[in-house]
């Protein structure tokens, strides 16, 4: 997963460089206006910082400058002023523990566009929202590739766009999201190489606690679905860990069967504990002849062996029955019912 992020990083960096070159020509920030058509940016970088403490995970999104390339169409923006060179380059937002790098820019961007895009870079028609994290010190965090269609139709009903007020620096920042499922149907004339990466649904956990989530095409990207998707992914991750622990769960797919198996396994383990406690009680029940009974001696002996083991005197306790559970020590999941197998293992090890 991480290698894919690296390629994304490289691509993003390449894009940044390319855009910086174009920066001189047309840089302006537009107001958000979902209803009107706005000029299509050839490339957009959007980052979001959003602090959402969901079980320790944080979704950070950072807004980044949106760069319109070569499009000076401004009639719809009214009194909006063009800021050609307004890159708030060294804008540092402290959002909790994260810091925005020098590239972060606070601005608002228009999300719905219907006009044709530039002849420049035309990303894939699929909208992605990458909710990424800006690890402190790294420049590339977010890429929101909004692909505009080529002005053929209006996707306003399908598109959801939220305005991000970058100055707020709230802990919970609304996401800017666009759903491009319809856009992709039309397709774009040029599909850059980035489209392949945009089809992935990756979530990586970088060294900070942020979540880097990429929305798949056709999937809703509002707050609730995102949160639900993150929760579902967490649960599926934990189910996979459980699958390794419970023996015989490799063939079972699906949550219901897995849960049944887990429940059966826990119940069987608890029953085994009860049975073994009965066995130990039965062993203790044997009539003792002396005060120093055989069982006490053996118990003391076991205890002494255990103490020896903790001081790492391995040779004297090779016959220690604890050894046969060394597979658990090594981390394998070992069904506890196979006594014979374990004895053979112990013997072969000796």
């Amino acid at each position: 997963m991480f290698c894919m992020d690296m390629t994304v990083l490289e691509r993003q960096q390449a894009r940044f460089k390319w855009l910086l070159l174009q920066q001189q020509e047309n840089n302006y920030v537009s107001q958000y206006n979902p209803l009107e058509s706005c000029p299509v940016p050839t490339d957009l970088f959007h980052g979001f910082f959003d602090h959402e403490s969901m079980n320790g995970d944080r979704i950070d999104r950072k807004k980044q400058p949106e760069i319109y390339l070569g499009n000076n169409d401004l009639p719809k923006y009214g009194g909006f002023s063009l800021n050609g060179a307004e890159f708030v380059a060294s804008n540092k937002m402290d959002l909790g523990e994260s810091e925005v790098t020098a590239r972060s820019v606070e601005f608002d961007h228009c999300l719905s566009r219907t006009s044709s895009c530039q002849t420049g870079v035309v990303e894939a028609a699929k909208i992605e929202r990458v909710v990424a994290v800006n690890v402190a010190g790294e420049d590339v965090t977010l890429m929101e590739n909004k692909q505009s269609n080529h002005g053929r139709r209006d996707n306003s009903n399908k598109r959801k766009a939220e305005f991000i007020a970058a100055e707020e620096c709230d802990d919970k920042i609304k996401e800017v999201v666009e759903d491009e499922s319809k856009v992709k149907e039309k397709g774009s004339t040029e599909i850059s190489a980035d489209s392949s990466k945009e089809n992935q649904n990756t979530s990586a956990l970088p060294k900070t606690d942020y979540i880097h989530v990429r929305a798949r095409r056709g999937q809703a990207t509002d707050n609730h679905s995102l949160a639900e998707r993150a929760r579902r992914e967490k649960i599926s991750k934990k189910m996979k860990c459980l699958q390794d622990l419970v023996p015989g769960c490799n063939k079972i797919t699906g949550r219901a069967g897995m849960l049944d198996e887990i429940i059966n396994y826990v119940q069987s383990l608890q029953r085994q504990v009860e049975f073994l406690s009965m066995k130990i009680a039965a062993v203790n029940r044997r009539p003792d002849n002396d005060n120093f009974s055989g069982k006490e001696v053996s118990l003391f002996g076991l205890f002494a062996m255990l103490i020896h083991k903790t001081f790492k005197i391995w040779d004297s306790i090779k016959a220690d029955p604890f050894f046969f559970s060394s597979s658990i020590f090594e981390g394998n999941s070992y069904p506890p019912g196979n006594l014979l197998v374990s004895d053979q293992r112990c013997n072969s090890g000796n």
Binding site: M278, R285, L299, L306
Partner: protein, 167 residues
């Protein structure tokens, strides 16, 4: 023996050794207490000063919970439950025997009324894992994983002890 025991329980790496030392120690204590009171009569069904199956089971769970430590939610819940049970059992047995039966019936009635839907798999899992009532699904799965691991080590250690004692 005391300092060696603390060393064994503190520095011993792995939950297996910690649990084994604690369990053996509690077994020895049980055995000595039973020897003190009524010779070496141990009965499974008799209530009283005998080594019963339940005592060993409780000793096993308690030693496992202590070996894990208070880091895990299930171990905390298990220790809490055992302490409450010990307190109730220790204070007044006769009164509790009568009152527990009544309470059970009342409790059962309330439960039947409250839960009208079929318990889902997550609910059954919550009943199995100690302290599972106050966990959401995500945490429940995590605790289940650790609980399964500890139960498996518990079973293997108890098996080895039982086999060793038999010989």
């Amino acid at each position: 023996m005391a300092p060696k025991y603390t060393i064994a329980t503190r520095h011993a790496k792995g939950i297996r050794t910690r649990f084994a030392s604690r369990f053996l120690r509690s077994l020895l204590r049980l055995k000595s207490s039973s020897n003190r009171f009524g010779g070496s009569q141990s009965n499974d069904e008799g209530i009283g000063k005998r080594i019963s199956t339940d005592r060993i089971k409780i000793a096993a769970y308690a030693s496992m919970a202590r070996a894990v430590g208070p880091r895990r939610a299930w171990s905390r819940a298990l220790l809490f439950k055992l302490r409450n049970r010990a307190r109730i059992h220790g204070v007044s047995r006769k009164r509790c025997l009568v009152s527990e039966k009544k309470n059970k019936k009342r409790v059962i009635r309330n439960k039947v009324v409250a839960i009208s839907r079929e318990p889902s798999r997550a609910d059954t899992l919550r009943k199995l894992v100690p302290g599972g009532d106050s966990m959401d699904t995500c945490v429940l799965l995590e605790e289940t994983a650790h609980y399964i691991k500890c139960l498996a080590t518990q079973v293997t250690v108890m098996q080895s002890i039982a086999d060793r004692l038999l010989l």
